[in-house]
Amino acid sequence: MTQSNRIGRAQVDFTKTLKFSFDGKSYAGHPGDTLASALLANGVRLMGRSFKYHRPRGPLSAGSEEPNALVELRSGARQEPNTRATTAELFDGLFAKSQNRLGSLKFDLLSINDRFANFLTAGFYYKTFMWPAAFWEKLYEPIIRKAAGLGSLSLKDDPDVYDKGFLHCDLLIIGAGPAGLSAALTAGRAGADVILADEDFRMGGRLNSETFAIGDASGADWAATAVAELASLPNVRLMKRTTVIGAFDHGIYGAVERVSDHMHTPDAGKPRQVLWRIYTKHTVLAAGAIERPIAFENNDRPGIMLASALRTYANRFAVAADRRVAIFTNNDDGHRTAADLHARGVKIAAVVDVRPNAPSSMDYEVLHGQVVDTKGRLGLTFAEVKLADGSMRTLDCGALGLSGGWNPNVHLTCHQRGRPTWNADLAAFVPGADLPAGMTVAGAAQGDLSTAGALSGGAKAARQALGLKGRMATLSEAEDAPVNITPFWYVEGCSRAWLDQQNDVTVKDVKLSHQEGFRSVEHLKRYTTLGMATDQGKTSNMGGLAIMAELAGKTIPEVGTTIFRPPYTPTAIGVFAGRHREQEFHPKRLTPSHKWAEEQGAVFVEVGNWLRAQWFPLPGETTWRASVDREVLATRKSVGVCDVTTLGKVDVQGTDAAAFLNKIYCNGFAKLAVGKTRYGLMLREDGIAMDDGTAARLAEDHFVVTTTTANALPVYRHMEFVRQCLCPDMDVQLISTTEAWAQYAVAGPNSRKLLEKIVDQDISNDAFPFMACTNITICGGLRARLFRISFSGELAYEIAVPTAYGDALMRKIIEVGAEFDVTPYGTEALGVMRIEKGHAAGNELNGTTTAQNLGMGRMISKLKDSIGKTLSQREGLNADGDLRQVGIKPVDPGDPVPAGAHLMNADGPIDAAHDQGYVTSACYSPNLGHAIALGFLKNGSERLGERMQLVSPLTKVHVDVEITSAHFIDPEGERLRA
């Protein structure tokens, strides 16, 4: 098909031709076209189907407020549903499909819904589909879901990348129309840091769509010149294709720059879109205004659009929506459209004006009356006009322009719950008083609808925002037509007259909503779905409000308006995520021995953001259990080594360091000798166990505190809270050293022998007994720290060196440990050994357990105050029969004792009411040859030896178990002290 509807020249580049396809048919367009303008140029008016009735639909607008012309853009993994043809920039090879249809766009089988419109009125579904109950999920809902929705996702992973960025400026200007450009020139020339953002791919706003001049240049040329000057200013950042989506607190704005959407595919390494977080002191909102339609019977046919859109297609894109055009208006602006189209040789069937005092014209017929109905199955063919004298006229036209007046784009002024106010002269809502801090509004967005008004308003706003003094530069002469409008919302007696064209909300639905008592604006919106379509009611809300006001006998401001919420236009979920998706969702933390562990073929596990070696499989080991059992046995038999760097470490120094630890730990630290380490239990102020670890006293005024891996951050935060907020005068300084030191546990009967080959000093049992700690050197001079602490229950040490040397130390340990068959072990073996030893860990310290539950009640020192002490004494936390940590083993050694299973009395009923406790941690003990577990049991300490049922209905486990001490191995702790 040729571009039969091209008329004259405009801002498209006819020297280049772009091929594209829509619903399998190929067409030609030009750079500067949108998909909609190019389709109209090719005589295509039908572009979509409505949501509910599947009525044929063409573009209503030429911008981002478009409710109708939504398509699936691109194909394969890049398929993008609900894309507005009116903003989709044309590129060579563009591929688009129509959506929300069953069959072809021309013969959509679901248009049958339109026949049943009487049944599918507002809220009909609340009143039926209830019988029989089961049928909702089984029958009704699946049908509804399938019919509902608009476009479809490819369900393939989005192949494009998204970026984020951060910008700072003195003045953010939103919208590059006459007001925005004028503001930018004023601020830019004054040397302020300015960002000018516009959602369009060509700056200039309405100036690109109008024919009138500014000074002696055309509006479009004036805009181009202004943009060129701004581009030359180093302090001005021009951001086209950038939509400011939200006004957030304290001058933070979200903006999405469409970097690559106008290309077939993004360049290598380049993002599709960037989410900018803009920090600004002041903002000028110059977002313009949106024309509104008029409601009358069958006002939704392809070819019926906003008059200003007709003008945009003609003046900017050199496209006539059709060769025969009629206009229906209640204000002078509609006549401007007729004049512009006439000038481009389009036949004006007539301008229908509701006003008795409508201006007349030499060039076309002006009728005083109303359009009352239209014809044309897939596109407008005739418009029925009722004249003021009651006679009827039929207009032969393929396009009908509606001009119901203009709504200022107050959207962003409402993002912080500001309420717009009513302006009777414009018959529209304008920005209210409660704007986001730092925001001024200018131009049409403020209700200043003339070009001259926009130019001066923009300049004034910029001067006001920046506090510029001196007299204002003189502005070029521009159109300054007064607004002359008679409010007119809908044609009397119409019923199937569309307000929300996408959601198929008609005047009839609003009336029904009122009839059924849904009379507040929010009820109206929610009951009829008016304004809840992808255009967020930009072209539909006002009509609904006006009708509701009339029905309720109120004024429109009395009825009020709904709140506009971010984003300004629908925004890809991908761009909000930026790079943080899939593997990059969170950063990774690698331990100092990671590289070495990889070489050993270790299997890694996520712990928080850390990757830790879970076990080290050897050739021939077919199951993880085989590896873990070997690691455990080898460690307990000779010696094993494990990277424990991930444990949080906090350096605590100062003359009050000991007093400080006394405050944060429930047990005492004041008397801990230098060179000694002590286990510490930290409570939250509510008396619940928060974390545990060790504190090593390296000097009178210097401790090293360790935390669990998971709690490193919250514990550090808590320590700073106590230091700064509770004990501000304590001489204590804190700093995290978690990553400064590579720390390895060396455990097993031969651990001392192994370390003696590395450390440069005597670590015999006498010289360096259990719980000793010291600064040492190793391998002939490298500074290191040695702690004699044990998680495994064996003779064990933890040795730390500066992180950079961690890799070398691990290799050294393996090298010198060869003669003892030193075995690297991972977190699984670590877990097995601590369960065998009965040490509590994350599964036990689950945020609800007390020191009492853990059997550590006596640790809470009575001699001093500590965080959590007082509230830990509440009766509910000290009741008889409370949970106590116990050991659990199966009666039949072959049985499992799964974590998460619940304990029930032997022969007792199995239900929640008789729940006795639960298993927190479980494993297979290669030393004992059967499964073992730790758990919490009511009155547990009194029930050792008792037989119970262990049930996990979820995983179909039901076994007999025996309650034992939590210390399965070496309960006296002889090995530790060996």
Binding site: H250, E685, R717, E720
Partner: protein
Amino acid sequence: MIIDHPLLGPRDSAEFTYMGDARLIDRPDPDAGTAAQDFYEYGYLRDNPAGWHDELWFHEAGDRSWLVITRNTLTHEISKVQLARDVARSRGRSK
């Protein structure tokens, strides 16, 4: 939101971690006869005003200062930002 850090100037609130009512600075005397009741109220009861609220924020991704911020919970407007350590001292906290 933007928090005007008394030492560092305007910073994005995303760098901070929130804890809540600044009364958490006023930890009761554990030796008072009413300690049990005092700590219950301290730990659990809040004014939770709709309006101006003194609250604790921790500059987690910044200088690790705890701040007392006076913020309006209806509008999010911030009228005052102080170092919590100074506030604590001014309220008589010491060691």
